[in-house]
């Protein structure tokens, strides 16, 4: 085999074929949901700063809390909070999917597709439900 001969020849380095990576595969829903699970996890990692700010502001006093309320009530703040809500719920549903897989269920092609779709549709749906309830609790958008 030419590859083996080349490898035993000291100093001979040639470009070797690499195993295929992401760019060679057609994007699929299950693949996208796997990637999104990691991305939402990383986003939540830094989103914890938002949670910590909220708690520290509440513990620090009315002025600090007013600053937090101003930010979270602003357009950017609401977008960030909406993204945090979706990432939290999506990562939770993706995690439930992983726990189902841990029981050795849900590996058939149709089941995989169904679980991936349920994660996406479920996370968007639940996020909207949570925000509608949130706005209702505040007495409508303001």
């Amino acid at each position: 085999m030419p590859e083996l001969e080349a490898s035993t020849n000291p100093g001979a380095r040639r470009a070797r074929p690499l195993s295929p990576h992401l760019q060679i595969y057609r994007p699929m829903l299950t693949m996208m949901m796997s990637i999104v699970h990691r991305i939402t996890g990383a986003a939540l990692y830094f989103g914890t700063l938002l949670l910590a700010w909220w708690l520290i502001a509440a513990a620090s006093g009315p002025n600090a809390y007013a600053n937090f309320e101003w930010f979270i009530g602003s357009l950017i703040g609401r977008v960030v909070l909406f993204g945090y809500t979706w990432a939290l719920i999506h990562h939770m549903l993706g995690g439930i999917r992983h726990l189902i897989w841990d029981t050795l269920h849900g590996f058939e092609p149709a089941e995989r597709e169904m679980l991936a779709l349920a994660t996406l549709v479920g996370s968007i749906g639940l996020t909207l439900v949570v925000w509608v309830i949130g706005y209702l609790a505040m007495g409508g958008p303001r």
Binding site: A42, L44, T48, I96
Partner: protein, 130 residues
């Protein structure tokens, strides 16, 4: 396969602890904290919605009450460990240069400990009214 040079000693193989020396411990802990996280996340969303639109005094009173404070502490500690394992896994997947890898792993630990400690301190302060 059996002709491949054996890089690990028989003792290392029989212990099954892998390169990090901790075996499947993190895998299992990620499942435990993940399962706990389902309940704690739902609780966090309910708590957050119930606090919407309330003034500072009311928020302090509710967040500092025992059941809410305990749930918040559990959420933070559970999430902190879960995200520490998760970020370590991401770093080990993508950062291959030794110095950068060690610095990233250290930064991960520092970030998680500082954020979790600050958040826990805030809850305890709200609870004990100091």
């Amino acid at each position: 396969m059996s002709n491949a040079p054996q890089m690990r000693t028989p003792m290392r193989r029989v212990r099954g602890l892998g390169a990090a020396g901790s075996g499947t411990g993190h895998f299992w802990h990620q499942r435990v904290t993940g399962a706990a996280g389902i309940f704690l996340t739902i609780a966090l969303i309910v708590i957050a919605i119930s606090l919407l639109g309330r003034n500072h005094a009311a928020v302090v009173q509710i967040l500092g009450s025992s059941p809410v404070a305990i749930i918040m502490l559990l959420f933070i500690v559970n999430s902190a460990y879960h995200m520490w394992i998760g970020m370590q896994e991401i770093i080990l997947d993508y950062v291959h240069e030794d110095n950068l890898k060690l610095l990233s792993l250290m930064a991960n630990t520092f970030f998680v400990v500082v954020v979790a400690a600050a958040a826990c301190f805030a809850i305890l302060k709200l609870s004990f009214g100091v």
